[in-house]
């Protein structure tokens, strides 16, 4: 499959120019209130949605920005939004 991503700076590019940066989980919760379990939920656990998810990508071979997109994991296609 030929996966493409629309980079906010560079436009539509081949997926291989980018690095996947994980599901979007929001900023790291404050350390003081963290238990090991909640830390682990944030750091290691994934929703693994078979469907549309919001996620981070890095334009490694291009402009070097991190950004989020929505992607349908069942088709591996970027989609407009949820």
């Amino acid at each position: 499959m030929a996966f493409t991503i629309t980079c906010p700076v560079c436009g539509i590019r081949r997926g291989y120019e980018f690095r996947f940066g994980g599901e979007d989980k929001g900023p790291m919760p404050p350390e003081e209130s963290l238990a090991s379990e909640t830390w682990c939920e944030y750091v290691h656990m994934n929703n693994c949605i078979a469907g549309i998810q919001k996620e981070w990508w890095f334009h490694r071979d291009g402009c070097g920005s991190w950004f989020t997109i929505y992607r349908d994991t069942t088709t591996n296609q970027q989609v407009e939004n949820r």
Partner: protein
């Protein structure tokens, strides 16, 4: 055999002769011949032997759906003779033959044993008793496989690649494809047209049938090809097989080079705004007993043999067909001189009555409602038995050729691969695209069209649709064209018959895997009731031709037998590549991109043994002595020079630069002072060591930092990732390649430096851990005093363009002080003597900085920064049961150095040696190991198990680190 007189459809050139060697036989051919046509002209009928039963196999389709004509050509196995041009002097061999020629194969008795090999027989036999299985494997391996590839085979030729962007990509250079290309190009778009054959024209190209008054189809094909050739915005790729199609209109293909091309084969990746699939049809094989005996061939094969290559397929032919093309071919071949015994047609009616009349005019018996049920002849066909479909009547006719074809089957791979779905269409009997991926259109014969005008119009229409995808305002043209199309004949009603009244024991549904109807029945009896599973169980459709032969018939047959829970025929999966492709072609240019430091050439010249370290090439050592003793001792005694240019170097600045540093480094980066270097580490969320390096404050909110060689490529990405929610104002510049790094280390280092700079580099003016900027001659240098190798050392960061010159200057200047180059191996031992860690060598993915004894770097009182890894560092600070890094020496003197990677054992594995070397400074072996934390106390015995030691363990004891100069006097002096 004699060729026909010149025809306008010929692809051969009389007068231009060539010859190829077929085994011992020398075969004469003509320019334009394929290997198969050249051999056929020399009366070769058996091209090879089948996989399992060693049945003779011959020319069948000319389109490459089966492995019948796969031969070894000049040492390359599995070359399809039927579409490979003959080249003068080629050496050709038949495959899977045990004997001198494929006419006599010593394994032909296998055919008589087919009863012993029911579908899936491997699974159900050969394991009882269990000792026979290993023996069976040997025989299975020997019998399996077709071609022979020598382990030292060298593929000749040039293979490269091209990445093409276009607006419209048209797959198939037949009439529909050409029309689509022309209509899209007419809109001013960039068009790419792909055609597998060496010429355009497809289904029209060889046929003399009238297109318009006075214009035969082949002439029309040439007219269209000429228009295409004259259209500058159409790039036509002939000899180009489309092999893959993917989401977002990525099409892959490969082109076979002509004599004038610089490439043998070229891999193509085409990204198009819109795709038109006009791949047409291949023929659906007719299934009957011995339906693959040499002499049995499809309509197009027989017809094109005569029309393109001037070869009549035989002397006397019987036809058993299910499509008007068969009738047309019979008429034309009869006119060209072939004796036609009869034409049986599956169809009772719905054939073209004009064609039937033409047959009658030529006294050719026409038998509607009849079908072939058996070909006779042990090596090649000598007769055929025909039967009425209802099995009430039979006839046996002698003939040397059976032209057999059940109908047509569309080539839909390009639509299915990117996610198109097929459904069975009752009118055409085809699996037709029900859903087509976005920006993809289909045209021509694959829709079931046969009328020339309808085909061309469908192409024009698809071209306009593609133009619309590319944003062209073509609504009106589209409407008009659709109106035109509606006035023309639609899809032809297709035949559905898979097989006449046959038993099926010798009826081959898949040639490549020698799979018969009987085998399919056996699989269904075992409970494999969907085509996809039957395919797996019987191997049908998994051979070199993939689904080409059984792809249509298998699901039809399964649905017909009623064994399947689902009565709707379901096509089996199609997978890329749609045409088999050399690995050489896929590999293409295979550019190897790696990085060289500014010192590369001179390091190589000096005898540097270069190694690939990540993306870089680096010198491991400068002599054949793997211990690098001289280099090491010279650093300890005099002074050495190391090329450290691969070190990552970055500028980070802006009002929030410090915040970013606080986030990613574990230390308190607010303590970075001007004129000083600060060493720190980066961890991941698990507190594990990811990188270490130094940070220097150049100015307010302006820092210079280093990263290890392996991490430099990801440093900016990492820092931006961990600040991505913050919106902080800071900027980074990757200066890794801008500066070369010279590590000048050894007791004489200062003496050398003093001579090349006017700056005060005394220990007082430039102490350990200091950072200075000064000039060497006129050149600015960033200098740091670091202690990685444990001696007085200066790390000089110089502009890359100057590096070679400055290095040369240091070498010339340092000559009197014994200066010499050193490489990575020497550095590895020198740093180990100091107990310094190399990431990946002394650490694993799960090793925290606590485990490495680097916990002191962590500053815990900056929670506002959310230091990456801080939580885990807190959690693991006193955690038990972790692997910790320790230093060790051998218990008894004289013990040799244990090998890197050797485990430490008692009743179980307790850790392993990370690095161990003989220390020339300490005159004994030393090492670093990761061990269970209960073993890390000084003096603890470590038992080292070496690969192949047969239980004889080496004994070591834990000692404190650093091994060399524990007080650090050498590097601070």
């Amino acid at each position: 055999m004699k060729r026909l007189n010149q025809l306008p459809t010929f692809r051969i050139q009389y007068g231009k002769e060539l010859s190829v060697n077929f085994g011992q036989k020398r075969c004469r051919g003509l320019e334009g011949d394929t290997i198969a046509s050249a051999l056929y002209a020399n009366d070769v009928r058996i091209f090879g032997r089948s996989l399992k039963y060693h049945r003779p196999r011959g020319l069948y389709s000319l389109d490459g759906e089966c492995s019948n004509t796969m031969m070894a050509v000049d040492g390359i196995p599995n070359v399809r003779a039927e579409n490979t041009p003959a080249v003068d002097g080629m050496n050709i061999k038949a495959q899977n033959v045990f004997g001198k020629t494929p006419d006599f194969d010593m394994m032909r008795f296998m055919d008589e044993l087919s009863w012993a090999m029911p579908a899936g027989f491997y699974y159900q036999t050969l394991h009882k008793p269990s000792r026979i299985w290993p023996l069976a494997i040997k025989h299975i391996r020997k019998a399996a496989g077709l071609g022979i590839l020598s382990p030292d085979f060298h593929m000749r030729g040039k293979f490269d690649e091209s990445y093409i962007s276009t607006d419209v990509c048209v797959i198939g250079g037949g009439p529909a494809g050409m029309c689509a290309a022309l209509s899209a190009a007419d809109q001013g778009l960039r068009v790419v047209l792909l055609e597998n054959r060496p010429w355009l024209g497809g289904y029209f190209e060889y046929r003399p049938r009238e297109y318009q008054k006075g214009v035969p189809l082949y002439q029309r094909a040439r007219e269209l090809a000429e228009s295409v050739g004259h259209t500058p915005n159409i790039r036509t790729f002939k000899n180009t097989a489309m092999i893959g199609s993917y989401h977002n209109n990525l099409i892959t293909a490969f082109q076979r080079g002509n004599k004038s091309d610089i490439f043998t084969e070229r891999y193509l990746e085409i990204r198009a705004g819109s795709v038109v699939v006009a791949t047409g049809c291949i023929e659906r094989p007719l299934l009957f007993e011995n339906n693959e005996r040499p002499g049995v061939m499809q309509i197009g094969c027989a017809h094109r043999l005569a029309r393109n290559w001037g070869l009549l397929p035989g002397k006397r032919a019987a036809f058993s067909v299910g499509h008007d093309l068969g009738l047309e071919a019979a008429i034309d071949l009869a006119d060209l001189g072939l004796d036609i015994a009869c034409v049986a047609d599956i169809r009772q009616d719905s054939y073209d009555s004009n064609l039937a009349a033409e047959l009658e005019k030529r006294n050719i018996p026409f038998l509607p409602g009849w079908v072939a049920i058996r070909a006779h002849g042990s090596k090649t066909v000598n007769a055929v038995t025909l039967s009425s479909i209802n099995a009430t009547r039979r006839r046996k006719l002698s003939c040397d050729t059976v032209v057999a074809s059940a109908g047509m089957t569309p080539v839909t791979g390009p639509v299915i691969l990117p996610g198109g779905k097929l459904t069975y269409d009752n009118h055409t009997g085809f699996f037709l695209p029900a859903t087509i991926p976005p920006q993809m259109h289909v045209a021509g014969r694959l829709l079931g069209l046969d009328d020339p005008f309808a085909i061309e119009t469908s192409g024009l229409l698809a071209g306009l649709k593609a133009a619309a995808d590319c944003g062209k305002p073509v609504e009106n043209n589209l409407k008009e064209m659709a109106k035109n199309q509606a006035t023309l004949p639609g899809p032809t009603r297709g035949t559905k018959l898979v097989t006449g009244p046959v038993k099926g024991k010798e009826t081959f549904i898949c040639f490549d895997e020698d799979c018969t109807l009987k085998n399919i029945n056996q699989a269904m009896h075992r409970g494999f009731d969907v085509p996809e599973l039957i395919k797996r169980f019987t191997s049908a459709g998994t051979g070199p031709g993939q689904g080409g032969i059984p792809g249509h018939n298998l699901p039809m047959y399964v649905a017909e037998t009623g064994e399947s829970p689902d009565r709707n025929p379901k096509p089996t999966t199609v997978r890329p590549p749609l045409v088999p492709v050399y690995l050489a072609t896929y590999a293409g240019s295979n550019h190897d991109m790696s990085k060289r430091t500014p010192m590369h050439d001179s390091q190589v010249k000096a005898g540097g043994k270069m190694e690939r370290i990540g993306v870089w090439n680096r010198a491991r050592r400068f002599s054949s002595d793997t211990s690098a003793r001289k280099e090491i001792e010279n650093v300890r005694n005099n002074v050495g020079l190391l090329d450290g240019s691969t070190l990552g170097k970055f500028r980070i600045f802006g009002s929030d630069a410090l915040k970013a540093l606080q986030r990613v480094y574990v230390s308190d980066m607010s303590k970075v002072a001007e004129g000083k270097v600060k060493y720190s580490a980066m961890c991941n969320e698990d507190g594990c060591l990811m990188d270490d390096g130094i940070v220097v404050k150049i100015d307010e909110n302006d820092y210079y930092m280093t990263a290890s060689t392996g991490r430099a490529g990801q440093t900016i990405e990492w820092i931006r990732y961990h600040t991505r929610y913050d919106g902080w104002n800071f900027h980074m510049v990757n200066l890794t390649d801008a500066y070369g790094v010279i590590n000048m280390a050894g007791p004489n280092a200062r003496k050398v430096l003093e001579k090349v700079t006017d700056a005060d580099v005394s220990n007082e003016a430039f102490p350990f851990a200091g950072y200075r900027e000064f000039l060497i001659q006129n050149m600015p240098v960033r200098a740091m005093r670091l202690g990685f190798v444990g001696e007085l050392s200066y790390e000089l960061h110089v502009l890359s363009s100057y590096m070679q010159s400055i290095w040369d200057l240091l070498e010339i200047t340092g000559k009197e002080f014994g200066i010499q180059k050193f490489g990575l191996e020497a550095q590895n031992i020198l740093r180990m003597e100091k107990g310094h860690v190399i990431i990946g060598s002394e650490s694993e993915q799960r090793t925290t900085i606590h485990d490495l004894g680097l916990g002191f770097l962590w500053y815990r009182n900056k929670p506002e920064a959310k230091t990456v890894g801080a939580f885990a560092l807190k959690d693991t600070e006193h955690q038990k049961g972790r692997l910790k890094l320790v230093g060790f020496k051998m218990k008894e003197s004289g013990t040799r150095v244990p090998k890197d990677g050797s485990p430490l054992v008692d009743s179980r594995i307790r850790g392993y040696v990370c690095t161990a070397r003989y220390s020339w400074a300490l005159k004994e072996p030393i090492g670093m190991a990761l061990v269970d934390d209960d073993l890390c106390g000084e003096g603890t015995t470590l038992n080292i198990y070496e690969d192949g030691c047969k239980g004889k363990l080496l004994s070591a004891k834990v000692v404190s680190m650093p091994f060399y100069d524990p007080d650090g006097k050498q590097m601070r002096c």
